[in-house]
């Protein structure tokens, strides 16, 4: 996400050199001497294509970068989890829940994250898939942590503990004869 934001931030301003060049009104002004329009037009179009290619390249590169970003997160998370240990307390619970929440929120905003890199020429499917896969990985890590903390109902004990004791059919009472 950081990277995506940076990419947008780097394009604060733009100057359009092709402005007015094709409109007839501009033709009123004679070309300066020694200027051949045809060649310029040609060069200009190749230049813009090149530029567009570069931008597309850059976009796809950035998209890959963004897609790979959760990996670092994953490592970070893993370290934190290792630090937190496997006993249930405030710290480990906080870490585990943030480990679960982060991928979830990231997955919700998949579209937004890749919005800036949207381009006809750029294939965003692969980075998106990677992004999703990594985030899912992060979530799995969280779930695994939850399990090691013993908070997932994967054992018989988790299902049995809430069952009330079975009703007893017979009733019996008695004892030593009362005396004082």
């Amino acid at each position: 996400m950081e990277k995506g934001k940076g990419a947008m931030g780097s394009r604060k301003w733009a100057v359009d050199f092709t402005d007015n060049s094709s409109t007839p009104s501009s033709r009123d002004i004679p070309d300066p001497p020694g200027f051949t329009r045809a060649s310029h037009d040609h060069e200009d179009s190749t230049l813009s294509r090149q530029k567009k290619d570069a931008e597309a390249n850059w976009k796809s590169q950035k998209a890959w970068e963004v897609a790979q970003a959760p990996f670092k997160n994953l490592l970070m998370m893993g370290f934190m989890m290792w630090m937190a240990g496997s006993t249930v307390h405030l710290f480990s619970i906080g870490i585990t829940f943030s480990a679960l929440w982060q991928p979830l929120s990231a997955l919700q905003g998949v579209g937004k994250v890749f919005e800036p890199y949207k381009d006809n020429k750029v294939d965003l499917l692969a980075p998106k898939l990677l992004f999703i896969a990594l985030n899912l990985g992060g979530m799995l890590l969280g779930v695994w942590k939850l399990n090691t903390l013993g908070l997932l109902p994967t054992h018989a004990s988790d299902w049995v503990s809430s069952l009330p004791p079975a009703h007893e059919v017979e009733f019996s009472s008695g004892g030593i004869a009362l005396h004082y």
Binding site: I93, H167, V169, F171, S172, I176
Partner: protein
């Protein structure tokens, strides 16, 4: 992260671990964990910050070590004493009293009681100066005061003589007088007798006469009456003479009188006269040389006079003396000179011995008169007191012995009729300013209370009936009525705020000493505590106690005050009901859902007479008012009271009363109850334990009795016979009927499950070899065997049997959920031991597949029958335990989630809380990591006694007999009521109060913090706005 930060985090982590380990109740399941974290954050944040500040890895390591050894205890701070507990001291029914009212110093009365207590009471207020409880087997026979500074007590049938220092109750000396045979015990302390600077005390006990130095308790001389075969009935020491007269009766029915020299015990003279009929009861001395006795037929008075060292007997037929006499004549033991009193079934007569030796009836009273001993006023003047009963008052009259006709003093005292009749009276005199005699009278009432009367007023009273509690039950208080005045709310709000401001000052250490005492006062006398309405947490309850005197008391659990008390009319002596005894107390009606307009009520079962076949009485008492709702009886006999788990439409609990012919009587006696019972009667069983013959018998309902639709015949279903030559039943224990079990599964290490065998029909029976049934040390280890059995009381099946070789009783046990813990003596190890047996259900052990459990394919909730003979397995373990034990109980909570603590009444009359985790048969020497995490403790051979876990902290519950636990509404908390001669009540949270803030939580501080935070938010918001504006202008 930086290394320092790491340390911080580690410290924090270990601290939290410590804390979370204390919440033992919480198994790791997804739901309960939220509670843990909540409470951990609520309670521990401020402290964890301080820990983090320490920033030292050493500390965190220390904490880690500490956390492993941490067990929750009930320790409290000094200023928390009396906050949620109360302690009341009693002495029991007074049987003898000696006044000590010298002009200088405090006026006191020394009393001995039926609970074997000797106590010195303040005559002014009735408070206890000092008190000693001698123990159940050390019955006090006589008390007196010697040398004006020692209290002399003779106890254990005249075999132990002790001297206690009068001002402070320290024991000065003790002599054990080993008599050869048990006999009556007498104590005579001559007032002015000196023997070589020593004043001897004469004691008769164990058929020996002793002269004992009152200074150090040395035996000066001893005279044994065994060779003569004489049982001494009376010791007379005439004023100023050096001779003791001992009058006794030999086996061959002869009167014998010995004159014994006080200096050396030599017999100076021996006279005897044959009296073939024998005598009944005691010989009463009426003058220096004359005594009176009844013959064995109780119809003839025998006047015994010693003239010229010879015995003269003079017989007078009682019917000649008093016309129309009825049976059961006895001579009352009141010592009046020249006069004695004779009691028959219908009246009491005073008989005077004239100078000519004739008997002369002076006055006749009807039965309700109590007479005191004579009190010497001057040289030849003696007075005695006489109490008569009026309607709601008593008439106390003091008369002079030589002038019976007129009352020296007559007072009428208003008396609460709930105290019953006067049973005993002791009088004492004082000299008024006008030099006339004033009298004070100490009276013992039918309900065992003790009162001091003076000048027609009750100066003080003590409810000593509470020293002999038989049974305890509890009741809810009434629901609070809605609608409180605004003024009251405002007032209480102001008070509340004031209290909390004071508390805040206290926490910030700004309070002055005066304020600190005020804080303490507020804490202890919180009006919330003793309110007469139900509270949200269920801490306020009525403790209803039945006492030996037949009086029922309702105590408020908040501060222990008596809400009401009632002397049960059905348990008072009457022609229909001679010798009534109170037996049992059961909750009768517990309105919950329907019948909410009814008050809760309790059932009191009593018996008229001493044998099991005597008729019984039933009384139902309203628990809010103490009024009798219904009286039944005297009716059939009662040997068992079973409270059935069914109730009728008025929420009256169905009860079965089993009589001595094994018939079951159903109560309440209504058609509806019969219908309910008949529907369920196929599944109702009962059993009897016949300890003297060693048989357990199980019964079921057969059919109705003839002519009584509420009576059912029993059929014997099974019997377990213990061979009398090898096993003798010494103890049986069963589960408490109202115990709630939360879950049937026990989660062990690695999330594995074991299924508990939870049955209410388990009976724990302990037997010993007959030789080992005596006291400890009476047998060799080879001859004593302790066997414990777990018996299913529906089918008679023995679920488990275990033998402890070389062990013996007494056995104290407690059975709860699926475990039993018992305490006994190991003769080989010469130590007390505690063992635990846990019983698990094998027939359910297969239910371990998660998927099957999720879809509900299991047999865990199907009803169980004992006839399906479920396979069981047991685990057990034994540990040494230092103390000998008087009672064991276990904490009980509303839902049964909270972990359990054993409550052990120790020999020192204290209550020790022992975590159940210490008596877990799965403990091993080296628990695995998973087991450690589960909270399993490494095995030790001895159970630890942690001083902080004494629930009774600094108090002693003298003569401890029982520990009752009552669940509060708050799951974490259990109420504990301990009774003996003293009463003690407290509130325990075995796993800490994880579901509520502590009582002394400072709400004012919390409010202040919130306000401060809100203010800070606003201030910083304004500041940041301003800064933003400045930034923009730049």
């Amino acid at each position: 992260m930086l290394p320092t930060e790491l340390c911080c985090v580690m410290g924090y982590l270990s601290f939290i671990t410590t804390k979370s380990k204390q919440f033992q109740a919480i198994r790791r399941s997804p739901l309960s964990i939220l509670i843990t974290t909540k409470s951990a954050t609520d309670l521990e944040k401020p402290r964890s910050n301080s820990i983090a500040m320490a920033m030292a890895i050493k500390l965190s390591l220390l904490l880690l070590v500490f956390s492993c050894s941490l067990i929750p205890t009930f320790s409290l701070f000094e200023d928390q004493v009396g906050f949620m507990d109360w302690h009341q001291r009693y002495i029991g029914k007074v049987k003898d009293a000696v006044f000590h009212t010298q002009k200088a110093g405090r006026k006191r009365v020394v009393v001995s009681t039926e609970e074997n207590v000797i106590a010195s009471l303040d005559l002014r207020r009735g408070e206890i100066f000092w008190r000693h409880v001698l123990g159940a087997n050390d019955v006090v026979d006589k008390i007196d005061i010697a040398l004006g500074k020692y209290v002399i007590t003779l106890s254990s049938e005249g075999s132990i003589l002790r001297a206690w220092n009068l001002p402070d109750g320290q024991m000065v000396w003790e002599s054990s007088l080993s008599g050869s045979k048990s006999s009556k015990a007498f104590l005579t302390i001559p007032a002015n007798l000196k023997l070589d600077l020593d004043s001897p005390i004469f004691v008769y006990g164990g058929t020996c006469l002793y002269a004992i130095s009152s200074i150090d308790g040395e035996i000066l001389w001893k005279k044994d009456f065994i060779p003569e075969g004489i049982d001494v009935h009376q010791l007379i020491l005439s004023e100023g003479s050096n001779v003791i007269h001992a009058t006794g009766v030999s086996d061959s029915s002869e009167f014998n009188t010995y004159e014994i020299d006080v200096k050396n015990g030599a017999v100076l003279n021996h006279a005897k006269t044959s009296f073939p009929r024998g005598i009944f009861g005691e010989i009463l001395q009426i003058s220096s040389d004359k005594s009176v006795a009844l013959d064995s037929s109780q119809s003839t008075l025998v006047l015994i006079s010693i003239i010229n060292k010879q015995i003269h007997l003079q017989e007078t037929h009682v019917s000649n003396l008093i016309h129309g006499v009825s049976s059961n004549t006895i001579i009352l033991p009141s010592k009046l000179s020249g006069i004695f009193s004779l009691s028959t079934d219908t009246f009491i007569a005073f008989i005077k011995l004239t100078d000519e030796g004739k008997l002369h009836v002076m006055e006749k009273f009807d039965k309700k008169v109590v007479v005191s001993d004579a009190l010497p006023l001057s040289e030849n003047e003696q007075a005695f007191a006489l109490v008569e009963h009026g309607d709601s008052n008593i008439h106390l009259s003091v008369r002079l012995v030589h002038d019976m006709s007129s009352n020296h003093l007559k007072e009428t005292v208003k008396m609460d009729h709930e105290r019953g009749f006067v049973e005993k009276i002791f009088i004492n005199n004082y000299v008024r300013t006008d030099r006339s005699h004033g009298f004070r009278a100490l009276i013992v009432m039918e309900d065992h209370s003790l009162l001091l009367l003076q000048q027609g007023e009750i100066v003080w009273s003590r409810d000593d009936g509470l020293a002999s509690i038989i049974d305890v039950t509890t009741s809810e208080l009434p629901v609070e009525k809605i609608g409180v005045s605004v003024a009251k709310v405002e007032d209480s709000l102001f008070e509340w705020l004031k209290g909390h401001m004071l508390k805040l000052k206290g926490t910030l250490m700004l309070a002055t000493p005066d304020e600190i005492t005020a804080i303490q006062k507020i804490r202890l006398q919180s009006s919330q505590k003793s309110k007469m309405t139900r509270d949200h947490n269920g801490f306020r309850r009525l403790l209803i106690v039945l006492t030996k005197s037949g009086k029922l008391f309702a105590l408020h659990s908040g501060d222990g005050h008596i809400v009401w008390s009632t002397l049960l009319q059905s348990l008072r002596q009457s022609p229909q009901c001679p010798n009534p005894t109170a037996l049992k107390l059961h909750p009768w009606q517990i309105p919950h859902h329907h019948a909410l307009d009814h008050n809760p009520s309790v059932l009191v079962v009593g018996r008229c007479g001493l044998s099991l076949s005597s008729p019984s009485t039933l009384t139902i008492i309203d628990a809010y008012t103490g009024n009798a709702v219904r009286n039944v009886g005297p009716t059939h006999s009662t040997v068992q009271v079973l409270s059935l788990p069914f109730s009728d439409s008025e929420e009256q609990q169905l009860h079965l009363l089993i009589d001595d012919e094994k018939r079951a009587h159903l109560y309440p006696r209504s058609r509806e109850a019969v219908e309910i019972f008949e529907k369920e009667s196929q599944n109702v069983y009962w059993y009897s334990v016949e300890a003297d013959v060693g048989i357990l018998k199980g019964y079921g309902v057969k059919n109705r009795c003839d002519g009584d639709e509420f009576c059912f015949e029993a059929r014997n279903l099974w019997s377990v016979v213990f061979p009398s030559e090898s096993e003798k039943i010494i103890s049986t224990v069963t589960r408490k009927g109202n115990e709630v079990v939360h879950t049937q599964a026990k989660v062990i290490a690695d999330e594995d499950v074991m299924y508990k065998y939870i049955s209410k029909n388990i009976l724990f029976v302990a037997t010993v070899s007959p030789k080992a049934s005596g006291p400890i040390g009476s047998t060799t280890p080879d001859e004593s065997v302790l066997v414990v059995h777990l018996v299913d009381t529906v089918t008679g099946r023995i679920l488990h049997r275990m033998t402890h070789l070389g062990s013996q009783g007494p056995v104290h046990a407690v059975l709860s959920e699926n475990w039993v813990v018992y305490h006994y003596f190991n003769l080989r190890a010469h130590r007390y031991e505690m063992s635990v047996i846990e019983i698990y259900d094998q027939s359910r052990a297969e239910n371990k597949d998660v998927l099957k459990l999720i879809v509900g394919k299991h047999n865990l909730t199907t009803p169980v029958s004992s006839y399906s003979r479920p396979e069981v397995s047991t685990k057990s373990q034994s540990y040494f335990f230092t103390h000998s034990v008087k009672a064991i109980s276990v904490t009980s909570t509303a839902k049964g989630i909270t972990s359990k603590h054993l409550l052990i009444g120790t020999i020192g009359d204290q209550v020790l809380a022992l975590d159940k985790r210490f008596v877990d048969p799965r403990r091993s020497l080296n628990p695995t990591q998973a087991e450690k995490e589960e909270g399993l403790l490494p095995l030790t051979d001895t159970l630890p006694i942690i001083p902080q876990s004494y629930v009774t902290h600094a108090f002693k519950v003298e003569g401890l007999r029982g520990i009752e636990t009552i669940p509060a509404k708050l799951e974490s908390t259990t109420l504990v009521f301990t009774y003996g001669v003293d009463l003690f009540f407290t509130r325990l949270a075995p796993s800490r109060t994880y579901d509520s803030l502590t009582e002394d939580f400072n709400y004012a501080l919390l409010l202040l913090t919130i306000v401060a935070l809100v203010v800070a938010i606003f201030v910083t918001w304004v500041l940041s706005e301003r800064k933003d504006l400045q930034e923009k202008w730049r």
